[in-house]
């Protein structure tokens, strides 16, 4: 007990220094928590993408090149009994804008019949699916998009696609996909879009952007990834098939290589915290050099001095780490900041696990930053130190 009182007294004897150091450790930890949360959000998005066992079929030359719509039936014919290949859904990117608003939308026109089969993880209700099949102008909005534009269930909205026919099209909001893993993308019906194209003199219903294929086993996924590309290898429009995770990853890798660079940033912040804590600990030991000498002359072993300094540093850093983890956790869970949208990933969630990891890292910072001062204290020559007693 006495031991712990001594430790706490040591930390509180220069309360200003302790507070400043805790803050200097806490703030880098805030960044550590934020960047690690972004990485974990990206990873969980990718993991979910991998779990869904979906394939994306695009044109081999570039994903922006269209594929013949008829490919859908050829792909379906690969597994006529739907044993492993559950559903094929054609999709076409439209982008889109709302009049007098600079914000860009991410809208996909999709085959109406297989959407639900391809995206069981979106948990559409029967009502939503009934409305989707009944209404040609149905739109399923990404929840984040709906929030940003203030659109609600039942609204009539007008979107101008960024592709032909470039004319305003009206849609009826039938769902705001609450379980969507991609909170931004909205879906409309391909048949309605093709009709709009024809109406404005564009012919284009024979071409489609890409296909999403739902498989029900990993073996099936691997098999069809190869089989589809082999099927179309000698066609005028060869395909490139990859799973959803690789497809999304291709984009992320080209967005400043975010996961890798954030990991570098996170480790740099840890380094900064170590520097700050090490500075304090070395100052603490220098200030108390006589005390350490006295303790050793009273019979405390070098090891116990070493451990004592280490524990002091750990307590100092953990208090900083705890505050540093609590700030982002609190901000994103209990304030409007939680609903803020940020680039690339939309809404940021600060997982408790990341916060706990940050506190553990703070323990590590405490140990690392105290190693040198603690070693100095442990190997201190008692006689020399006492000679300079003030």
């Amino acid at each position: 007990m006495l031991y712990w009182i001594y430790l706490i007294r040591n930390l509180t004897r220069n309360i200003r220094r302790t507070l400043l150091t805790s803050a200097a450790v806490a703030l880098p930890i805030v960044i550590f928590v934020l960047s690690t949360s972004v990485i974990s959000a990206l990873n969980s998005y990718l993991d979910n993408a991998a779990k869904q066992m979906r394939l994306i079929v695009t044109h081999k030359t570039s994903f922006i090149n269209p594929l013949p719509s008829g490919y859908r039936y050829k792909i379906e014919a690969l597994d006529p009994e739907r044993k492993e290949l559950t559903a094929v859904c054609g999709m076409h990117w439209l982008g889109g804008k709302v009049e007098n608003d600079p914000r860009l939308l991410s809208t996909l026109a999709v085959d109406k019949d297989n959407l639900e089969a391809c995206y069981p993880d979106y948990h559409f209700t029967q009502e939503e699916m009934d409305a989707w099949h009944r209404d040609r102008q149905a739109a399923i909005l990404g929840p984040e998009t709906a929030k940003q534009f203030g659109w609600k269930l039942g609204d009539r909205i007008t979107i101008t696609p960024s592709l032909p026919p470039y004319t305003p099209m009206e849609f009826h909001v039938i769902s705001t996909a609450e379980h969507a893993s991609d909170p931004v993308t909205s879906w409309i019906r391909l048949d309605y879009y093709f009709d709009a194209l024809k109406e404005h003199g564009f012919h284009g219903d024979e071409w489609i952007g890409f296909f999403v294929i739902k498989c029900n086993s990993i073996a099936g996924l691997d098999h069809y990834r190869r089989a589809i590309d082999e099927l179309f290898a000698n066609y005028p429009d060869p395909t490139k098939t990859r799973d959803e995770k690789s497809f999304v990853n291709e984009f992320i890798a080209q967005q400043f290589n975010l996961p890798r660079n954030l990991a570098i940033l996170a480790s740099l912040t840890v380094f900064v915290a170590i520097m700050a804590a090490m500075n304090t600990m070395s100052m603490n030991i220098r200030d108390r050099i006589n005390e350490v000498a006295t303790m050793k002359s009273l019979g405390f072993s070098s090891r116990s001095v070493f451990v004592q300094i280490l524990i002091e540093s750990m307590m100092l850093c953990v208090s900083g780490g705890f505050v540093g983890a609590l700030i982002p956790y609190g901000l994103f869970h209990w304030t409007p900041l939680g609903s803020m949208t940020i680039p690339v990933i939309q809404a940021l969630d600060i997982p408790l696990l990341v916060c706990m990891k940050a506190v553990l890292i703070a323990v590590g910072i405490g140990i690392l930053s105290a190693l040198w001062p603690a070693w100095l204290g442990a190997k201190l020559n008692v006689v020399t130190a006492l000679r300079y007693l003030e």
């Binding site: 400043l20 804008k97 860009l104 900064v272 520097m275 700050a276």
Partner: protein, 392 residues
């Protein structure tokens, strides 16, 4: 009278460990700031170099970029009558009708990673409008041949784009085009592109549409006249100055800058605390010294100043070291590419160390230095002389 600079310098050297730890800490933050900002600066500079105030870019109303725009011949034909247009010596109007498509090419240095590289089908007039295009290796393509020229940045960044390399283009992807030349374009986004004869690209994509038209106007004021005409009832297309178009594409970088500033502000605040800690310790160790200096006649201001100078010296040295390390990092990782969420094509850019970045780093370092020394300096100047000396 102020204390000599030498005094501050020597004091820093006395506390070697503490000074170097603080120095290292601030250096890291300066490096992070410099590198983060260099991304945005690189993209912005590249896009800025692409636009000229006296050129007007024409797209389909509703489209967001060249890659999503579709113009038909009957629409582009109307542009010939645009007022304010410049003519070449032979009397031809300087309008470049272009077709922008994309092709997937491997990114060099990454495994299984592909970039969507822009391919621009152009007529000879494109080179008259864009004199910045300079062939630096090989030659220009022949108008009727399956040949392309490649931007220098793209050729360094993506596979198969060296001279004599072959790439497959076209909707069918079954035509091989030979790379016959490498061009430079004043570090603009055109250097991320592949340029090919428009006739060959049009047939390869079996379409009769184009993507955009670029008009060379007589001067900047005429550009506005041209824009008004094109937007008006006789043409009804979307027109804007090239500079505005590329500025809009650079919008993503604004978010990047805001994010960097927030991150650095948080880290900077941490550094202020660390600095304050160091300076407090320095002051506490020299209570007697300061009391002595006061007795000798140095003013409170002189004492405060010497604390500020110590702190600023540390920060300035950190700033210089940080900028050197940052520049070295930037020089090693200079070629970057990123996919635009507007045009879906890959933009190759170079990380850039600009004067603005240097000044930002300097402001950060000085800010940390001053803010960190503020409270300790006040404390130092308020040391009760008698009490401090009595303990001597």
């Amino acid at each position: 009278m102020a204390l000599p600079l030498f005094y501050s310098w020597r004091n820093l050297l006395v506390r070697r460990l503490s000074t170097s730890l603080t120095l290292l800490l601030i250096t890291v933050i300066v490096v992070v700031l410099a590198v983060l900002l260099s991304f945005a600066a690189g993209i912005r500079q590249t896009l800025k170099n692409s636009g000229h105030r006296d050129r007007v870019i024409v797209l389909k109303p509703g489209s967001t970029a060249e890659s999503t725009s579709v113009l038909f011949p009957e629409e582009t034909n109307l542009l010939v009558q645009t007022p304010g247009i410049r003519f070449d010596p032979s009397g031809q109007p300087l309008i470049s009708i272009e077709l922008c498509i994309q092709t997937s090419l491997p990114r060099l240095g990454y495994q299984d990673s592909f970039a969507n590289v822009a391919v621009r089908g152009v007529d000879p007039v494109a080179f008259a409008i864009r004199p910045e295009i300079q062939i630096v290796e090989g030659r220009l393509f022949d108008s009727g041949a399956l040949e392309v020229i490649v931007g220098e940045a793209a050729s360094k960044r993506f596979g198969n784009l060296k001279i004599d390399g072959e790439i497959s283009l076209g909707r069918l992807g079954n035509r091989l085009y030979k790379v016959v030349g490498i061009f430079r374009a004043n570090n603009s986004s055109f250097e991320s592109e592949i340029w090919a004869p428009r006739s060959m690209i049009t047939t390869a994509y079996s379409g009769h549409y184009t993507s955009s038209a670029t008009i060379q106007c007589i001067d900047e004021s005429q550009a506005q006249t041209a824009i008004n005409y094109i937007k008006g009832p006789s043409v009804k297309l979307q027109a804007q100055k090239e500079t505005d178009y590329y500025q809009e594409l650079a919008r993503t970088t604004r978010q990047l800058v805001v994010l960097s500033v927030i991150l650095i502000a948080i880290m900077g605040l941490g550094a202020v605390f660390a600095m304050a800690n160091t300076m407090y310790a320095a002051v506490d160790h020299r209570r007697r010294e300061f009391a002595m200096l006061r007795t000798l006649g140095f003013s409170r201001i002189a004492i405060q100043l010497t604390i500020f100078i110590e702190s600023l010296l540390t920060c300035l040295v950190s700033c210089i070291i940080g900028l050197l390390i940052g520049s070295a990092f930037i020089a090693m990782n200079i070629e970057q590419d990123f996919i635009s969420d507007v045009s879906f094509s890959s933009l190759t850019y170079q990380l850039r160390m600009t004067p603005t970045i240097m000044i930002s780093c300097l402001i950060l370092a000085c800010g940390v230095g001053i803010a960190g020394a503020l409270a300790p300096a006040v404390r130092a100047s308020r040391i009760p002389i008698l009490e401090a000396l009595r303990k001597a």
